[in-house]
């Protein structure tokens, strides 16, 4: 029912929570929310909540990048976050979210992976970013990407002695060199909105997720939703995302 209402309002240029089309809900970011993690962040986007935790583990490098650490992003749509989520292995939505966040981080080269090499060809740091959905009130993707990059910025590299990680002791900050930000532009008929509420998400024709780096370069795109997007609307959607990304990036510390 709220969907119908949201739709009628959007037709008139309004939204349920009185925001402008290009306005995000109030964002609150707390860091170091889990003290066992190498870094963590809790992002609240209106009522939506996501926690990102970073853990580092040593492992072998990929054969084609012997001098670089590795990055793995995983997302859990925990059943506590929404009546629509079920326990069990990650479904396609969770897998997609994790992979879109992953590409935003990876393709922006936000981590200086060469600094995460311990012994070339043998041992490197693997950076795990685990995204935990806490409450799903819409736009989990942008909230997750924001939590991920904030957690990385606040992560430290553990001390390592003779192959053993000394827990609780750190040698340096994680080498984060860029701050990619994800902005999803929702489309409903001829209207474009940012940061959709869940009621709005359910009535969107399509969505385009855009990951933008500090230098305004676009480093990942993902079209979502059941309808197509008119080719001529794409540039406008990029512009909206680039503009908003500057604002969001200021929140990442």
């Amino acid at each position: 029912m709220r969907e119908r209402y949201a739709y009628e309002l959007i037709q008139k240029g309004m939204r349920i929570d009185e925001r402008k089309f290009d306005e995000f809900r109030k964002i609150k970011i707390r860091t170091d929310v889990s003290n066992k993690a190498e870094g963590s962040a809790h992002v609240t986007l209106g009522e939506t909540q996501v926690i990102a935790g970073v853990k580092l583990k040593t492992g072998e490098p990929y054969p084609d990048t012997p001098n670089e650490g590795t990055l793995i992003v995983n997302a859990e749509f925990t059943p506590l976050a929404s009546p629509d989520f079920e326990s069990g292995p990650p479904g396609e939505d969770a897998v997609e979210l994790a992979r879109v966040v992953d590409r935003g981080l990876r393709e922006s080269h936000c981590l200086d992976l060469e600094k995460l090499c311990i012994t070339p060809k043998e041992k490197v740091w693997t950076v795990f970013v685990d995204l935990h959905m806490i409450n799903h009130q819409g736009n989990l993707l942008d909230a997750s990407a924001l939590a991920a990059i904030t957690a990385l910025h606040n992560s430290q590299v553990p001390k390592i002695e003779e192959d053993t990680i000394i827990r609780g002791e750190y040698v340096s900050k994680l080498p984060v060199v860029f701050t990619p930000v994800n902005v999803t532009v929702g489309k409903i008929e001829d209207k474009f909105i940012l940061d959709p509420l869940i009621e709005e998400e359910n009535i969107l024709d399509s969505k385009l997720s855009v990951s933008v780096r500090d230098d305004d370069k676009i480093c990942a795109l993902q079209k979502m939703g059941e309808q197509g997007i008119n080719f001529d609307d794409l540039e406008k959607m990029f512009d909206m995302a680039i503009k908003k990304s500057k604002e969001l990036r200021k929140l990442v510390k």
Binding site: E96, R106, E107, D216, K223, F231, D239, I242
Partner: protein, 241 residues
Amino acid sequence: MGHKSDKKLIVNGKRADGRELDQMRPIEMQIGLVNRANGSALVKFGDTHAIAAAYGPRELMPRHKQEADRGIIRTRYNMAPFSVDDRKAPGSDRRSTELSKVIRLALHPVVFVQDFPKATVDVYIEILQADGSTRVTGINAASLAMAAAGVPMTDLVTACSAGKIDGKLVSDLNGIEDNFGEADLGYAMIPSKNMVTLLQMDGALTKEELVTLLNMAKESCKKIYEMEMKVLKEKYEKALE
């Protein structure tokens, strides 16, 4: 993507396989091949070969998955274990899970799902040989398979890739270009409606580069559209004598 490499992908203005920057690989399309399916197609983009089969509309089980006012589409993208250099473990993984979803959404906009409420159209894509651009090759095969299956559709879907290699924008990435290039775009559209139904990009591009790349992909899709129409018509005009 993003692997550092000294490999030269462009030499004297031409790509390693001899193509011009905006040139696609040779494309082959064939309808049929899987007679048990309601429709099937094989599409080759150079050395990338994808076969797709469409079943349905057919009864959807379990019943609780049925939707009273419309049908659903299910897709599966799968790479054969022998389709790549190092054998791929059979079965689904995170990549194929995501691709199955985006492919489904790339096809969905053309299907009249309201024409077959409570039922399903199942589209299965198998990559038999992989040399880059597998998902878009698969989408073209799927679009043809669905049309050949008589699924009610507003139009055909066409798909292609484009990307940036050695600093240049190019059409239709092969495997090496995909692995060692700077950016890669997966793109599908309904050409006659100017609607984009798949859009994925990894890399780092300025907005201007991205827009140029999108226009290149759009041009490629127009050519693919002509080919899809032609292969379908030939197949069925022959059937009418």
